[in-house]
């Protein structure tokens, strides 16, 4: 897929639509683990130490170039506070991938990871891609959750794992890019299984051809 060119059927795109895919990513986790900071670091390369609680939901858009494709990311930042839970979970269903975040200096936020993972399983699609991120790894002195613990939990849940710091800009970009890569993998997987050569009947245009060869009103 990646090596194929679009030139054959003339691609004309205006500047704001100048991308190939659009992925929706959701950042979840307990309140004050640094979700918003993480997003701001990635999208704006900025950081402010002041704590600002997110109201309900917010998002930022960033277009990246990855695997020869322009990918527009709509990254949703959710409120960690329990009282907004109903609004945030409503957004789970539209997300292709998740960043589940905890704070390495906050045991409680780590203990909640299991619950967050259950939330994803409940409200999202079956193939939801999740990265577990232990944020604030710059605060080594106050660390209460060891890297090993985080890695083990991630393994147990079947997620990939990163320790990161929005403040010191450690692993932020890497986290998002890895998630994008995983979603891309899922995408081509889903395409391969739904390939007309394999499933035959499921794809409209091909169906016509197979059922009634002499009738070709539908080009495909």
């Amino acid at each position: 897929m990646a090596s194929a060119t679009d030139s054959r059927y003339g691609q004309k795109e205006s500047s704001d639509q100048n991308f190939d895919y659009m992925f929706k990513i959701l950042i979840i986790g307990n309140s004050s683990v640094g979700k918003t900071s993480f997003l701001f670091r990635y999208a704006d390369d900025s950081f402010t130490p002041a704590f600002v609680s997110t109201v309900g939901i917010d998002f930022k858009v960033k277009t990246i170039y990855r695997n020869d494709k322009r990918i527009k990311l709509q990254i949703w930042d959710t409120a960690g506070q329990e009282r907004y839970r109903t609004i945030t979970t409503a957004y789970y269903r539209g997300a292709m991938g998740f960043i589940l975040m905890y704070d390495i200096t906050n045991e409680e936020s780590f203990n909640a990871v299991q619950d967050w993972s259950t939330q994803i399983k409940t409200y999202s699609w079956d193939n939801a891609q999740v990265l577990l991120v232990g944020n604030k790894c710059d605060m080594e002195d106050e660390r209460v959750v060891s890297s090993e613990k985080g890695r083990q939990l991630a393994e147990h849940l079947g997620f990939e794992f990163f320790e990161a710091s929005a403040k010191d800009n450690i692993n932020v970009k890497q986290t998002f890019e890895r998630l994008v890569d995983i979603i891309c993998e899922k995408m081509s997987e889903s395409l391969d299984t739904a390939d007309p050569a394999v499933t035959g009947a499921k794809q409209g245009p091909q169906l016509t051809d197979q059922q009634a060869p002499p009738h070709q009103d539908c080009a495909c």
Binding site: F19, K24, I87
Partner: protein, 587 residues
Amino acid sequence: MTFVKTDTAVLLFKGFLKEREREAVLEVLHRDQMVRETEEKRIRKLKLQLQQLQWKGARNSSHEYQERSCARCQKSLGLLMNRGAVCNGCSHRVCSECRVCLNPCLWKCTVCYAHGDVKVKAGEWFFEERAKKYPGEGRRETVGAKLLKSYQKLSEISVIPPTPPPFTEFTAGSNVKELSQSKSFNKSVENLFLSLTTHIKKISKSQNDMADRCLLTTDHGQNLERRKQRRSQSDTAINITSRMKSTPSLQQLITGAQNDSEILTKRNCKEEESIITSPTSDAVFCDGKKHGSLYSLNSTCTESGNFGKADVMGEIEFAMRYIFKACILEICIKRCKNLAYGEEKKKCNPYVKVYLLPDKSPQSKRKTAVKKRTVDPEFDETLKYKIEYSQLGSRQLQISVWHAGALKYRVFLGEVVIPLAAWDFQEDSMQLFSWYQLKPKLEKPEHDLIEDSGELLVSARLSAPAQYKNFQFEGRKDQGVPSCQLQVVITGAKNLPVLRAAAVPNPFVIGCLILPDQPEVKQKSPVRKKEACPQWNHLFVFDGVTPAQLQQSCLHLTVWDQSTSSSNDQFLGGATLGASRFFIMKN
């Protein structure tokens, strides 16, 4: 900035905070809406490109199908050089020019490639994957849109301070735990979210997702209402028939067959035939031969109410375009989803029927193949009309979906009617496939039809023979079922359509009585030579009919123009005296 500082100072001004919160969320929702619109625009463009590629093939496909030509560019293929190869995706033979190499050993034809490409780029893959878990979910994620809409609706109410919580309607059936959280009205924003999201959940759950019982019960009232609505809609259909009943001499409108929508050419006619796999082939009818054609009047019969009705639901996806060069209107019926079952026991064999209203003659009818045992049929058929562009403005495209049951039993599953006057055929984006909600039958636009084509009017009268009346009189005492005689007087017709240029037709009438479990009985009136307003005063007599049979019968009356030179009599129009009620009335 969409964040609100929740430090203690701000928290003191609770009301202020709430206002700020609301503003913040609204701002996010609006921003999301803009992103979504851009995305939709992009996807539309992608799909348009794909479709143009597909149409390109369709345009060329008016040639006879040739095995040895490229299915994409129609270039002929050689036996030795440039032989072409079969595409893995669509099994069509394409030339080397029309391939896209995915890797050294795998290629697809341009259309298959573009199809997959659009699927990826438009994010369809995700919706398909997600549909595995949430089958009732709409393709596009519209949480934001739904939220915004209900937010605006709700916030209008909730702005006024002392009113009771405006969300009771929504929270009523929702999770009790959530409800207890929302007890206090002071937390209005949370409440709002709660109610909104419950509302959203409800919308999506109401389709198919059976996971949450509580939410389902919330739906109950809504469903009931919908059902009620449906019932009343079918009631109107009954009203129509009862109106017919009360007319002493039924004046049944006949829609004339009009020349302009004739089958394209011999070749295309063949194509049509290959499309129609159902037993009621129109091809015979289209040629203007009258023999065996009454069969096809079944559809006219369905038009006048002699068919089963299912609760209308589901959607149909199709695209339409006009080829200006060839004067051809093409309708590509792609598929339907979530159709109602045509019969009990989950039976459904759907097919799609298309008319270019006001012409309801068989010449205006196109049908797809019947798909067996599915409520999500994939048709992928292109139906064509040869029609002048100037004619389109006065036409309506009626696309109806039917269930083909056993023994000609038809069940109406819903329809879409599109006035073509408002359709911009010049605009490329109008050629896109779109989903349309299926609707119940509109109340029969009889008056419209009179105005539109006011061409042909048949006055028919039914009268029972003397002994029949006597039977009715004595019948109360006598339980025996006598054989009655059905008499139909064909009085006359006027404003018959002119088929041949400046020629007066030679009209005659065929009456065909269809009784349950009996062969059709046909009768023919004398031909009135060169009469534009023929008066027949001809009596059709159908013997051996019991009142019980009449209850389930219908009478087709068709007017024909006898051809002077050939045996090809032209169909001028037809009417069905619908079913039982008419005859009951006559008792």
